[in-house]
C-alpha cells in the first residue's frame, strides 16, 4: 500500500500543526483537522484506452474494469493486501472445502431499484459458469441453492481450496447483476447494472464512459481497503475519458483538463513530478508484464523455438530499460511475499544468448518473421517490445514489433492467431487463477495443450493444504520454465496522477481507479 497525503496542499500545514498538537494531547484530534468531504462536482479520469466491451464477465480488458469496478460488486472481493474479504456476502461458512454457504447483506439495492437477493447471485454465477472469461474456474460448481432469499449454498463436485479466490478475482469479474439482465440486453451486457457506489449512465465509444452517484448506496462496514470496506460516493458524476497518447494524457492532467490520469509511464512521471497543482506517482506494482506465445497456428508452437526466445531475453536489462530501474525481473507469476512464494518459484532459466543460438539452430527456424503484437494502450509494453525485438535480433530471430489498437489486439488474442504478444497481467489473488484459466487445454484461446499442465493445475485446485499446494505450484513453475506456455518478464509500475483539488484518492499497487471516497473541491 502506498499511503500519501489525502488532504490538499493548503490543508497540509493545518493538518501538520494539528498532528503536533494532538500528539501531546489527544490522538483522535487528527481527524478533526482533516477537511470535510464534499458531495458533488464532476471527476474526470483520463484512461490510456477505451473499453473493449462493457460485459466484464466475458471481456477481460483492464480498461472496462477501471470504470466498472466502481459500478459493480462481487460476492467476495479483495482488500488492499490481496486477501479475500466480504463484499455482497457479509460472511460465509465452508465445509470440507466443498460446501460454501454465503450470507448476503440485506437491503442492498441494484441501480434499477430492485433488492439484491440469492436468486440474482445464482443467476450471475450461472451466467459466468456458462460464458464468463474464466468459466473453467467455476466449472467445479455442482449445485447452487437458495434456502432463503439471503443465503446461497454452493456445492462443488470436488473440494476446491481456491474457490473463494476464483470468485474474488477481479479479472474476468464474477459480477452480481439482476436476474435476467443479460437476456434483457440481447445476451451481451451493454448497459451494466450493479450494486456499486456509482451507476452506469452512458458509453460513447472512444469518447467517454459516464457514471453518476448512486444515492441509495449503503456503505459496508469496515475500513476501506482495496475493493473492500466502506465505499462512499461523493462526486455527482465521473467521466472516464480515453486519451490514447501518453504525453497528451499527461498534459491533460497538468493543465487541469482531467482530475485523475491512469497509465502514465516514467517519462511522464519524470516530466510532471514537480509540476505545480498535481501529484504523480510511478510505483512498483503487482502487475506482471509477460510474453504470450501462440500455440495454435504459429511457429511458436515449437517448444525449442520458445526456449530460444526465453534464453535470448535478458530480463534484468529489460526491466531496467522499461521501468527505469523501478521494476524487477519476474521469474514466475507467484508474487514475492505470498505464502506460495519460495526459493523454487524465484528460480529462472536465465539469460544465455549462446544457448539461445544453439536452440535456435536445433529448432529448424529459418529466419521467418515472427510478430510481437503490442497494444497502444499499455505504455510499458511498447518499450518492452522494442527492447525484446533487439535482444531477439541479437541471436538471429527475425522479430517484428506490431503495434495495434486495443480492440484489434484483443481480437487477435481471443482468436489465438498470433506469434507472440506482450501483455500486462493485472494482479490476481492466487497464481492458479492465472495458470488454470489461461493455459488449460479446455479454455485457452492460445491453443496450448499439455495434459501434464491440466493435471497439475486441477490438482492445485483440489488441494486445500498449503504445503501440498506449494509443492504443486513448484511443479507448475518448473513446467512453465521448461515448456514455456508463456514467459513472465518483469513486475511493472503503476503510474497515476491527480490534481490537488482531488482528495482521498489512493494509488494502489494493483492499479485500478477507485473513485469512491474521493471528492473534489472544484
Amino acid at each position: 500500500m502506498f499511503a500519501h497525503a489525502w488532504w490538499g496542499r493548503r490543508w497540509g500545514m493545518a493538518a501538520v500543526a494539528a498532528v503536533l498538537a494532538a500528539a501531546m494531547v489527544w490522538q483522535p484530534a487528527l481527524f478533526a483537522a482533516a477537511p470535510q468531504p464534499r458531495v458533488g462536482g464532476t471527476l474526470k479520469v483520463a484512461l490510456a484506452s477505451d473499453a473493449y466491451s462493457l460485459d466484464i464477465q466475458v471481456a477481460p480488458d483492464y480498461e472496462n474494469r477501471l470504470a466498472l469496478m466502481n459500478v459493480i460488486e462481487q460476492l467476495v472481493t479483495l482488500d488492499g493486501g490481496v486477501n479475500v474479504s466480504p463484499a455482497l456476502a457479509a460472511s460465509w461458512e465452508i465445509k470440507d472445502a466443498k460446501v460454501y454457504t454465503f450470507h448476503l447483506r440485506r437491503g442492498v439495492k441494484f441501480h434499477n431499484g430492485k433488492e439484491m437477493t440469492a436468486d440474482d447471485v445464482i443467476y450471475s454465477l450461472q451466467r459466468f459458469k456458462d460464458k464468463g472469461y474464466r468459466k473453467s474456474d467455476l466449472a467445479g460448481i455442482d449445485t447452487m441453492e437458495a434456502p432463503d432469499p439471503y443465503t446461497v449454498r454452493i456445492t462443488l463436485k470436488a473440494p476446491d481450496g481456491t474457490f473463494l479466490f476464483s470468485l474474488a478475482n477481479p479479472v474476468g469479474t464474477v459480477t452480481i447483476m439482476p436476474k435476467g439482465l443479460a437476456e434483457e440486453q440481447g445476451g451481451t451486457i451493454t448497459h451494466p447494472v450493479g450494486t456499486g457506489p456509482y451507476q452506469f449512465v452512458e458509453w460513447a465509444r472512444d469518447r467517454y464512459i459516464v457514471l453518476k452517484r448512486f444515492a441509495a448506496y449503503k456503505p459496508w462496514p469496515g475500513k476501506p481497503s482495496g475493493f473492500a470496506g466502506a465505499k462512499v460516493p461523493y462526486a455527482d458524476e465521473v467521466r472516464f475519458i480515453p486519451i490514447k497518447d501518453e504525453s497528451v494524457r499527461g498534459n491533460a492532467l497538468a493543465t487541469g483538463d482531467v482530475d485523475i490520469a491512469d497509465g502514465l509511464g516514467y517519462p511522464t512521471y519524470s516530466r510532471l513530478k514537480s509540476a505545480p497543482g498535481l501529484k504523480v506517482f510511478d510505483v512498483p506494482s503487482f502487475t506482471i508484464t509477460e510474453m504470450r506465445f501462440g500455440h495454435k497456428k504459429s511457429l511458436m508452437a515449437n517448444r525449442t523455438l520458445r526456449q530460444a526466445v526465453a534464453y535470448a531475453i535478458d530480463k534484468k536489462q529489460l526491466a531496467d530499460g522499461v521501468t527505469y530501474g523501478l521494476g524487477r525481473p519476474a521469474p514466475s507469476i507467484v508474487l514475492p511475499g505470498s505464502a506460495l512464494y519460495d526459493s523454487f518459484t524465484s528460480k529462472d532459466a536465465g539469460y544465455d544468448p549462446a544457448k539461445a543460438r544453439a536452440l535456435l539452430a536445433q529448432s529448424g527456424y529459418k529466419g521467418e518473421v515472427l510478430k510481437i503484437n503490442v497494444s497502444t494502450s499499455a505504455p510499458l509494453d511498447g518499450s518492452a517490445a522494442v527492447i525484446i525485438q533487439s535482444m531477439l535480433k541479437a541471436v538471429g530471430i527475425n522479430a517484428q514489433v506490431n503495434t495495434m489498437e486495443l480492440a484489434a489486439w484483443v481480437q487477435t488474442w481471443l482468436t489465438g492467431n498470433y506469434d507472440m504478444f506482450i501483455n500486462d497481467l493485472s494482479f490476481r489473488p492466487d497464481p492458479i487463477s492465472i495458470y488454470r484459466p489461461l493455459w488449460s487445454s479446455k479454455s485457452t484461446p492460445s491453443g496450448y495443450n499439455n495434459p501434464e499442465w491440466d493435471r497439475l493445475t486441477s490438482a492445485v485446485a483440489l488441494s486445500t493444504s498449503l504445503p501440498q499446494r506449494r509443492a504443486l505450484i513448484d511443479q507448475i513453475h518448473e513446467l512453465q520454465v521448461s515448456d514455456l506456455p508463456f514467459l513472465p518478464l518483469f513486475f511493472g509500475t503503476v503510474g497515476q496522477g491527480y490534481r490537488d483539488t482531488v482528495h482521498g484518492y489512493d494509488v494502489w499497487a494493483a492499479g485500478y481507479v477507485r473513485v469512491w471516497n474521493v471528492w473534489t473541491d472544484k
Partner: protein, 278 residues
Amino acid sequence: MRPILRVFRRAGRTWVSVIGALLLAASIAAAVAGPAVAPGSPIAIAIPDRLEAPNARHWFGTDQYGRDVLSRTLWGGRYSIGAAFTAVMLGTVVGGLLGLLGGYHGGRADWVIMRASDVFLAFPALLLAIGVAAVLGSGMKSIVIALAIVYAPRMARVMRGAALPVRQMEYIEAARSEGAGAGRILLRHVLPNCIPALIVQGSISFSQILLAEAALSFLGLGEPPPTPTWGAMLSEGKDFLTTAPWVSIFPGLCISAAVLGLNLVGDTLRDVLDPRLS
C-alpha cells in the same frame, strides 16, 4: 547554349536558390550516403547509455533505449526521403500519364479523369492519406501508396492544363497529318513540351509529401519500430521534449532543412521555367 545550362545559370543568380540547392543537396547526400557514414547501428540498444546529452561519442546524444540519435537520423533520412521520393515518382507517372491523356484526347476520357481527380481533391490531403494508409495497414509500402494516391490527381490536373494548349499547336497537327499514332504524338511531341510544368509541380509537391510522410509516421502509420524515420523519431522523442530535447530536435531539424531546401529549389525552378514570370 543548351537549355539545361541556361536554367542553371538563371537559377544561380539568386542567393535564395543557392541556399535551397545546398540544403537539398545535403539532404540527398545524407539519404544516399548516410547509412554508410553513420557511426553506429540505428537500432542497437544500450540501456545503460540511454538519454545521454550530445557528447563526443554520441554527437546527437542517445534516445530512451540508448540508441545513437545521429545514426538514427542518418538512416531516418534514407527512409523518409526515400519514401517521399518514391511516392512523388509513382504519383508523377500515374497522374502525369492520366493528365496527358485527358488533356490530349479531350471529350469523354478527359471528363472521366478530371471528375475522378475532383473526387480525390475534395478530401483534405492528409486525411485521405491517413484513410488509405489505415486501410492498407501500417508500413512504409502503404505510406508510399497512400501519398501517391493523394498526389496523383494534383499532377493529373497540372499535366492536363499543360497538354491542352499543346494539342492545338501546328506541329502536332503536322505530326498527325504525317500519320503518327496517338502514342507517338503523346510521348514524343506533347510530353516534352509539358516537362517544365511537371518539374515545377514535382519539386514543390516533394516537400509537401515529405512533410506528409513525417506526419503519417508520427501518427504511427509508418514502418513499425525500431525502424527509424524522421516522423517516428519525433513521435518517440516527444515524451522527452522537456527532459531530453535532442531525441526529437535533430530529426525535426532535418525535416525542416529538407523541406525548406525543396521549397526554395521548387520556387526557383518555377521562376526560371515559367515563361509568364520571366
